[in-house]
């Protein structure tokens, strides 16, 4: 079978629950988030994308790294649960973002073992985007509504069913467990007609990542950053909903004889992020911190990891409480670069 009828998805998820923890989109009141489901019918697949990204599946918002109890001579490492995990219903942008996190956290001279352990146990089943939102700009950032980057299996809606595109060996293993196989077609073909009809909102004009980088690199000291970021309140929501942000803080806690070291998400948008013990802060203003976000994502990441730190999911556009629209910032810089 190379397609899964839509109404059979809950049953399929129930079957997966037998041997896996399954993260799927779940509705909580008015928001949608990726959470572990207890039953296949909990998953909601009709929305275009979740409010927050699924990156907490690999980089939890809070994770205990080390722990010790009274009597322990030394700290003990914490191990994450060892059951296999399936991330179901992520979008191609989210899966692609995880390939960047792989480069940052699993790459380099030191491998983040906590991230790697979760990575080794994770299979990603994404659903391609037949109806991108107007806030999506994945295509401009090198992805696309049917990109397979980072997914193990990519599902594609087609007349009430999901065509199966097997992408990796890990995907093939899961597919055979589910009794499905590759559809043998190029992902995205089924919706080509619909694309032509509605146009492709996922590719706003004016954002060319290469031209953008050059323009940004030349604009570091430009006073325009103050005007661009004037409305920013430094709340950090953009970092928290982003699928490719990775900054974290490490905090120690002690209570009643036992101690632990945790890591928690953090954001370069917070003033305290770079503040040194002496009180000196290399990024003392909101404008300097907003500049760091843009420079890091659209210039430094390209230098260090070969891809931009943004996959164009548009969540920061939707969730920013003051409507500071990153697309407008990028278009403005890309336009300067063209001059």
């Amino acid at each position: 079978m190379n397609a899964i009828p839509g109404r059979q998805v809950p049953r399929l998820l129930d079957a997966l629950l037998g041997g896996h923890v399954v993260f799927a989109p779940v509705r909580h009141g008015r928001i949608v988030a990726f959470e572990p489901i207890a039953s296949g019918s909990d998953a909601v697949l009709g929305c275009s994308n979740s409010t927050v990204s699924p990156r907490h599946v690999l980089l939890p918002r809070m994770e205990t790294l080390l722990t010790s109890c009274s009597g322990d001579a030394y700290a003990r490492e914490c191990t994450c649960p060892d059951s296999p995990v399936v991330l179901f219903g992520s979008r191609p942008c989210d899966a692609r973002a995880l390939t960047l996190l792989d480069r940052i956290l699993s790459g380099g001279a030191n491998r983040d073992v906590y991230y790697q352990r979760r990575r080794d146990l994770l299979t990603i089943v994404s659903i391609g985007c037949a109806r991108p939102l107007e806030t999506c700009f994945c295509t401009a950032m090198g992805g696309g509504p049917f990109s397979t980057d980072g997914s193990d299996i990519l599902l594609e809606e087609c007349e009430g069913s999901f065509l199966v595109h097997v992408v990796t060996e890990r995907g093939r293993a899961l597919a055979s467990k589910l009794g499905v196989c590759d559809a043998g077609r190029r992902p995205g073909g089924a919706t080509a007609a619909a694309e032509e009809e509605t146009g492709h909102p996922a590719a706003p004009t004016g954002i060319d990542p290469g031209m953008l980088k050059g323009s940004l690199d030349a604009s570091f000291d430009d006073p325009v950053w103050r005007a661009i970021s004037e409305r920013c309140i430094g709340c950090g929501i953009c970092s928290y909903v982003c699928p490719s942000c990775h900054c974290f803080d490490i905090v120690d806690e002690e209570a009643g004889g036992s101690a632990c070291r945790k890591r928690v998400w953090d954001s370069c948008q917070f003033a305290s992020f770079t503040e040194q013990a002496s009180g000196f802060n290399p990024r003392p203003t909101g404008a300097s911190r907003y500049r760091q976000r843009i420079m890091h994502k659209f210039s430094y990441c390209i230098d260090d990891y070969g891809m931009a730190g943004c996959v164009g999911c548009g969540r920061c556009v939707t969730e920013c409480p003051v409507n500071l629209d990153i697309r407008e910032v990028l278009k403005a810089f890309a336009a300067r670069g063209a001059l």
Binding site: L133, G236, V251
Partner: protein, 322 residues
């Protein structure tokens, strides 16, 4: 007066203030980049005043931008925004003579999430105003709703829609809401403790510790928030219910007597948590104990900063003593 007329009035006032050099910039709203959004903006020359808009989506509390400003600012302020300005002046975070308040009476702002609920599945392409109604364009058709049906929670229980102070007033006053406005607090308080615990644990289970509530709040201006202290560490940084509730409850305590119920916190929250409920309980308590409601009177001293021998002391004395 319609929002369109108010918009004209705001533009005229802003242009005049800038042309006369009375302010360096005017903080107001401009057209958002998405449907159902208006974005805070800074206009610093008279010609730029044409960017300013006034509509049912001007919900941000702009008084937040007055803190620590190195410029003389004009600010477009609704009733709740002026309440924040009153408190910020009391706490010496804003100098009265360094701001020009363009007061705007407000009928309430629309909640985009409620509008999306009304529109059903599919994308809203635009929302236009027609008197007291909003016309939603979605899925190739339109739906008309009354503004009253889709107000933000904070607007639905607002007790001060007209500016408390202003240098310039745009538009006509709007009638204030009659009756006891802490009905929501009374309802929640009447539930038993187990129910309340379950309600708040459930709401807080979504908290991702992003601190947007803190950043959006006009009264949270500490340069070093208690959350960032390490010696001692007052509250854990984790996402477990204990740490999360501790953070929010501590923030409520820090806002006691200062929160003006503007709702900026819950509007900023990306996880749609009912944050204002806890703050409103504290506002109700402060009103009951001290007869004070933040931001409504520029002259009334802040209750937790000023001691009056008549203040109730039954938290530490038996009734009848002292």
């Amino acid at each position: 007066m319609s929002n369109a007329d108010m918009q004209t009035g705001i533009r005229e006032e802003a242009a005049r203030l800038l042309a006369e050099g009375r302010v360096d910039a005017v903080v107001g709203f401009e057209e958002g980049s998405l449907p159902m959004r208006a974005a805070p903006c800074f206009v610093s020359d008279p010609d730029g005043a044409d960017r300013l808009v006034w509509n049912a989506f001007c919900s941000n509390n702009l008084s937040r931008y007055l803190r620590g400003s190195d410029r003389r600012l004009g600010v477009v302020a609704k009733g709740c925004d002026t309440r924040s300005i009153v408190e910020l002046i009391k706490e010496r975070q804003v100098a009265r003579d360094s701001v020009v308040v363009i007061g705007v009476p407000c009928r309430g702002m629309a909640d985009p999430r409620l509008l999306s609920d009304k529109a059903g599945p599919g994308r809203i392409t635009s929302v236009e105003e027609a008197g007291d109604d909003l016309v939603i364009s979605a899925n190739g058709g339109t739906i008309t709703v009354r503004l009253d049906e889709v107000l933000h929670r904070s607007c639905a229980v607002c007790v001060r829609r007209n500016p408390v102070l202003s240098d310039v007033l745009v538009g006509e006053g709007v009638p204030e809401r009659p009756g006891d406005s802490f009905g929501d607090v009374a309802e929640l308080s009447s539930r038993d403790a187990g129910d309340r615990w379950e309600h708040f644990s459930d709401e807080m289970s979504r908290c991702i510790r992003c601190y947007a509530c803190r950043s959006a709040c006009p009264m949270c201006y500490c340069t070093r928030c208690f959350v960032d202290d390490t010696g001692p560490r007052w509250v854990g940084r984790g996402t477990g219910v204990g740490d999360v509730l501790s953070f929010h409850l501590m923030r409520v305590m820090h806002l006691a007597g200062r929160c003006v119920e503007c709702g900026a916190c819950e509007r900023a929250c990306p996880m749609d948590i009912d944050l204002a409920a806890l703050n409103r309980k504290s506002c109700a308590d402060v009103e009951r104990l001290f007869g004070y409601r933040a931001g409504l009177s520029p002259d009334a001293p802040a209750p937790l900063s000023a001691f009056d021998p008549g203040d109730p002391q039954d938290f530490m004395l038996e009734p009848g003593q002292g």
